[in-house]
């Protein structure tokens, strides 16, 4: 038995394996938005499906779920029914707002006609709102509490579980 080999090999191996095991489940690409804990950047845009003017500052008093999406993004197709279903169920207590990014009105109307809508959808024509929120890609969803402060951000297609978990933060 070569003790040196055993000790050196075990020390290097154990250290490496321990670090790797501890890292399992971590998402290194997850970086919290710097906007969390800060007031939601203001914007006022016209909803293309309902025609009403949505001013984020006037929505205070209710939690807001602000979803950035586009008709050219496949994950947005996946999450759309989840958002519509939740909006129909809890829409009286929570304000859902969709902001379409880098897209055309015709395509959005066709998308909503085909797949249904349950909340105002705004067109961010020049992408200024998306830039103000630091949107890195679509879909991305921001959770804003009744005081108008961003409490959470989720990048990727929304699921009911993620929506409920983040909404509970916005309700507190």
């Amino acid at each position: 038995m070569n003790r040196t080999v055993l000790i050196v090999g075990s020390a290097i191996g154990l250290a490496l394996v321990a670090v790797l095991f501890l890292s399992l489940g971590n998402d290194p690409s997850h970086i919290d938005s710097p906007l969390i804990g800060r007031p939601a950047p203001p914007f006022a845009l016209k909803a293309i499906n309902t025609g009403e003017m949505i001013d984020i500052a006037r929505l205070r008093g209710k939690p807001v779920i602000l979803n950035f999406w586009a008709t050219w993004c496949v994950p947005c197709y996946q999450e759309h029914p989840v958002l519509v279903e939740n909006a129909q169920r809890i829409g009286s207590n929570v304000q859902f707002v969709g902001v379409v990014f880098n897209d055309s009105e015709d395509k959005i109307n066709a998308f909503l006609r085909q797949r249904g809508s349950a909340y105002p959808t705004l067109l961010d024509e020049q992408g200024k709102t998306a830039i103000a929120y630091g949107v890195g890609g679509v879909p991305e969803t921001y959770f804003i509490n009744p005081k108008g402060v961003i409490v959470a951000k989720f990048a990727g297609p929304m699921t009911t579980e993620v929506l409920q978990a983040n909404l509970s933060k916005a309700m507190q």
Binding site: M1, N2, R3, V5, L6, G9, S10, G13, L16, V17, A18, V19, L20, F21, L22, S23, L24, G25, N26, D27, P28, S29, I31, W72, C73, V74, P75, G136, G137, V138, P139, A155, G156
Partner: protein, 651 residues
Amino acid sequence: MTATLGRFLILASVFVSAAGSMVAFAAGRKRSLDGLKMARRFAYGFAALMVLATIVMEFALLTHDFSVGYVAQVGSREVPTWVTIVSLWSSLEGSILFWGLVMGFYIAGATWLTRGQHEEYMPFAIGTWLACATFFSFLIAGPANPFLSIPNPQPDGPGPNPLLQNHLLMIIHPPFLYLGYVGMTIPFGFACAALLRGRLGHSFLRPLRSALLLPWIFLTIAIMLGGWWAYEVLGWGGYWAWDPVENASLLPWLTATAALHSAIVMERRGVLKGWTVTLVQASFLLTILGTFMTRSGVFNSVHSFTQSSIGPTILVFFSAALLFTVVLLALRVDSLESEGKIDSAVSREGMFLVNNLFFVLLTFTVLIGTCFPLIVEAVKGKQMSVGRPYFDSMVVPIGTALLFLIGVGPALPWGRATKQQALRSLSLPFVSGVVVATIGYAAGARNPWTLLTLLFGGYAGWVTLVEMWRGGTKTLRRGRRRFGSYVVHAGAVIVLVSIAVSSTMRTSKEVRLTRGEAANIGPYTVTFLVAEERTEPHRQSTIARFAVTSNGKAVTTLEPRMNQYAMMREPIGTPDVHSTLTRDLYLSIMNIDPNSQTVGLMMIITPMVSWIWIAVLMMGVGGLIALIPVRTPSLVLREVKDPLGEDAIPV
């Protein structure tokens, strides 16, 4: 039906590999030739099952059988047939099946080539290979099963990862990487067999070395293809970013390169047996670690698209293989006794030792740098990364020292060099080094490391060329292995010089142009012709067209573009490159607006980039030349100073 057949074949491969492994180890213990014969049949059986399973999967892909899980995941009726064929390795489950196929070929090939030879070692080698095969079969049968049945199949699927369709290199890079990674299983099996048998005779060195050299060639080319892909696609003008997944492919390459060198000392002087075996085993373990790095998702990487849930399973296998290796080494390494000794540090073998030291140092440097973010997160709970400055400051000096060794090692004789020999070997080729460095200085090189690299590059290049052609045509006939090794060295010298020059002597310029405007960089004038949008079934592209002229003469038209794939959250830029042997002109779009016909453009001129790709291919060709067997009598341990002998291999 297809899915069921696929699952049956994979379950059969789990059984065959597990049973074969047990039979082989039992045959090794009892020294039973009948047992070995049976183990060989199991090895062929495993390979046959993997080939059949792959045929079934390709059949399902080509017939668009969306009732097979993997086809539903990556198949599409819209993509061309060639994309359908290569989509076998476009996603996790298929690529693990492809891994199994490659493993089957390697195991069957190594079993076939060693038939009737090395009977004392082969049961343990086959047992080790089939034990590894059992794990990968299990992975295909369970955590990464591509043959799951889909009860209500859809009429069409989404198609493979868009990145695979974005560039040709993305199609050929993964197979080369798998051929490199999986191939390391074979020398690992040989090394374990030597340890389990408690001896490593000279006749067994040749298969060990060849088994190591073949995957080394594939891995060398795979690393280059990865760098080339990054250069052609990612748009920042570089080819190496010290990304964890790039490092993952480099780590086993470093230890395998060290092992190839120490194996020569082992062959010539009968020393470093335990050390060589350790390096061979480390190379295999690092391929498994590399697979974990790519697949686990715990590292932040440009390869995050390859993340999956099989990380924990691979980590368990890595831990088990590591434990087995450490215990086996501790128990048996002393049985591989040295038959000779190293007389003097100033000798060729002395330089081999220094070379090995540097390669191992480089391995630890890269491993620590790669794992550092995980260590900080585990200890402090913070996200942190060491980044490029750490790697550059550590790797550049070691790489430069290795370049020096490429020159000084082969210039020194085996055994003990006299003072005159040492001085003569160092002084004359240095003239060439000084000439190259002076040319570099005249061409504008001012970075001290670049000038040092040019000095050592000129020196090593001279020694390599002189040694390569010593003996004229006799070299090619008798010393093919030696000649091939020097071709590899010549390639390595060019690669290191090209990396130094291209990374320190590039010029870049960011400009904003509207249609019809032009900008100058180096000898080129780049004129923005038009921006247009193009819609294809799988992507929307915004393309900018530029006319490139030099001294009023048309050179080329370049079309960098931004591609938005439906499946991706962010657009993928595709730069366009005009390559020549002296320099590349690289255009990459930063932002583009087709309505106002304006473009934000990054223009980069990088010297000598093409030489990196050419020289790495040269290293691969050199490796292949060295791999071709030469009909010579079995090697006998001897102290010869025959520079043309089959054994006279450079550092």
